[in-house]
């Protein structure tokens, strides 16, 4: 045995017996973590033993893994009614979680909905199967502009098709912010979150950030006037410094909790996904407690992302998956979903069926001027991602 202290490796050279097993152990034995967000025990803790999934092809089931609060209430029932296929529907609130499940293998999912900038490297890692476009006639409904954008992550749109798109900006409680910052303070700026002097004034009413390193650093880099897609160490360090400087004023880092908390006045400022903030706004209005929530795409610009339907390479029911995606691409279904969750649809044919109120809201369908300030993210290399995530861990834990 040879010990290499410099990079902490030990080598053991063993000459035959040539029994060379490739993967020494079943990876999914490790998926033991408490999976507390799952609604149905799909990827059971012991999925790796896969005793539970001798699923036959004619079983009319599709296992869908989508973002939380991201579908109209009756969509799944309508799908089952029309096709006879039962939907097992699970939700997540972070791209990282989806990726962890897909990398573990045997996730059991037939349709997942990662964002484009994650899809890109997941395709490269062989996690998805190409879409069978002949089984997706409703692809013709898609917005060519959106298709062009998503092709930057997935050349030719071979593996994914956009479900909805949106922005990552700021949601806030109008009354609390004006009370603390003054009547004529600008509320359409990242200063609210990234300027320590400003965010300090808001700390007592609750400020939260998404637990999404790629998006947090992109926003920070953009705020600093740097390229949000930069992968240099200096830029990363600058972004970390900025994020760490506001860390004392952040109540928590979480990617879905803020929806409820904004709506019932627990917090007053959240970095959040556009549609999620609108859901909070609607919920606050419904509760009638006089809480007014607003969403802003800050003038410095914001991330525009596309969430993509994709079929894992080891999906147990690929046919049902295609049927599900095709159903979701139908104009009336896409419109119903957008009308319900307030995210812009990647579906052009759906546009005329979308409520005027949604269509004309510049926070959902940004005006051309605002669109100019929006940026997109490319996939990070695994090497940079390693630096990014450990930097994020330091920021979050205040170390």
């Amino acid at each position: 045995m040879r010990l290499d202290a410099a990079n902490g490796r030990a080598h053991w050279n063993v000459t035959p017996p040539g029994a060379a097993s490739r993967a020494p152990f079943a990876p999914s034995l490790l998926t033991f973590a408490k999976d507390f967000e799952m609604k149905t025990p799909l990827a059971l803790a012991l999925a790796g033993l896969s005793l539970a999934t001798p699923v036959l092809a004619q079983d009319q089931v599709v296992n869908v893994y989508n973002w939380s609060d991201y579908i109209a209430e009756d969509t799944l029932d309508r799908f089952t009614e029309e096709t006879g296929i039962t939907v097992n529907y699970d939700v997540f609130d972070s791209n990282e979680l989806v990726e962890a499940k897909l990398l573990a293998g045997n996730s059991g999912y037939d349709v997942v909905v990662p964002s484009g900038f994650f899809l890109e490297r997941q395709i490269a890692a062989g996690l998805f199967q190409p879409l069978d476009k002949s089984a997706l006639p409703n692809l013709e409904n898609m917005d060519p502009e959106v298709m062009e954008s998503t092709a930057s992550h997935d050349p030719g749109n071979e593996y994914g098709v956009d479900y909805m798109w949106g922005t990552t900006g700021l949601g806030y409680n109008v009354a609390e912010l004006t009370e603390r910052l003054g009547e004529d303070a600008a509320l359409d700026t990242w200063d609210l979150l990234f300027d320590p002097a400003t965010v300090e004034k808001l700390a007592d009413c609750g400020v939260t950030m998404l637990d999404a390193p790629a998006e947090a650093y992109a926003a920070a880099l953009n705020y600093l006037g740097l390229d949000p897609n930069s992968e240099t160490e200096e830029d990363l360090a600058a972004a970390e410094e900025l994020l760490a400087s506001v860390r004392p004023y952040i109540r928590y880092y979480h990617s879905s909790q803020y929806i409820d908390d904004l709506a019932n006045g627990e917090i007053c400022l959240a970095m959040g996904y556009s549609g999620d903030v609108f859901i909070a706004e609607a919920a606050a209005e419904e509760a009638g407690q006089g809480i007014e929530i607003a969403y802003t795409i800050p003038e410095e610009g914001a991330l525009k992302w596309f969430d993509m339907f994709a079929i894992p390479a080891d999906a147990p029911h690929p046919e049902a998956a295609h049927e599900f995606i095709n159903f979701m691409l139908r104009a009336d279904i896409a419109a119903a979903n957008t009308n319900y969750v307030y995210y812009a649809s990647g579906n052009e044919a759906a546009l005329e069926l979308i409520d005027e109120e949604v269509k004309s809201d510049p926070a959902i369908y940004p005006t051309p001027e605002v669109s100019e300030n929006l940026f997109t993210l490319n996939a990070h290399t695994p090497q940079y991602d390693e630096m990014l995530t450990s930097s994020w861990t330091r920021v979050k834990l205040g170390q």
Binding site: R9, W12, T15, L103, A104, T393, K396, Q399
Partner: protein, 313 residues
Amino acid sequence: MSQSETPLRTRWYTKLFGPGAASGRALVIFAPVAWLTVFFVVPLAVVFGISLAIKEFGRPPYSDLLTVGEGGTVQLTLHLSNYLRIITDPLYVTAYLSSIRIAAISTIVALLIGYPMAYFIARARDPWRNVLLMLVILPFWTSFLLRVYALSGFMRGNGVINGLLGIFGIEPIQMMQTDFAVYVGIVYTYLPFMVLPLFTTLVKLDVSLLEASADLGAKPWQTFWSITLPLSLPGIAAGSMLVFIPAIGEFVIPSLLGGPSTLMIGRVLWDEFFSNTNWPRASAVAVAMLLIVVVPIMLMQRAQDAVVEGRTR
């Protein structure tokens, strides 16, 4: 059966299962041993194996330990970098220390609350005793997750407690996303594990000893201090272990109730695994946690055995 085999076999059984272990017993013992092997030893070995790999983007997301080179040479590559990182990066050390601190404080609080409860239940009259015991166990009938989540309804800014304080004109107190909320959550969740072993030792306590003590003129607190407390030590030890050990690795409670600065190793593990997809590092963190928890327990067990043996002699 030859004579030379017998002592060897006896020694093996005696070591594992104590004196008097016969082959008939082995049959009975086989099931639990097989169970532990399949669901404890093997997974642990898998975790340990992965902890010696490094992260790679792919499926599975870590490097192979065994690779076949030219001419059928099998190379075993073990990376110690994960363990080095755990020792050198202050994040992990701080997280371990902070987990131990939170678990220890929670255990002490649970003991202080649980002891009087157990004592009261043990002294209660018969029909009541069962009712009270039932009440201790009752919370287990609802989901643990749900109960922890419900606590946030009490401690939220506009929750029940702050609502009550508001009646008396007291400003709302920030309880959620603080360490305080985590302590409340852990003590609340694990209190039954403290009460039940305490109850079993206290209920077996010979009342005549207490009467003798009183007859001989000891004050109640003297009796408690020199008779009840020492005799309930095994219950205290068992209850404390049952609270302390799971509390160290607790993940759900700090993530639902704690704030970003509540640093616990369970959360670090979750982040490494699900956010960073770094299985090797997560595995190393888990192995290190096991060592940190197991070693003190073994020492304590040994000390306890010594006490018990000393007493019986």
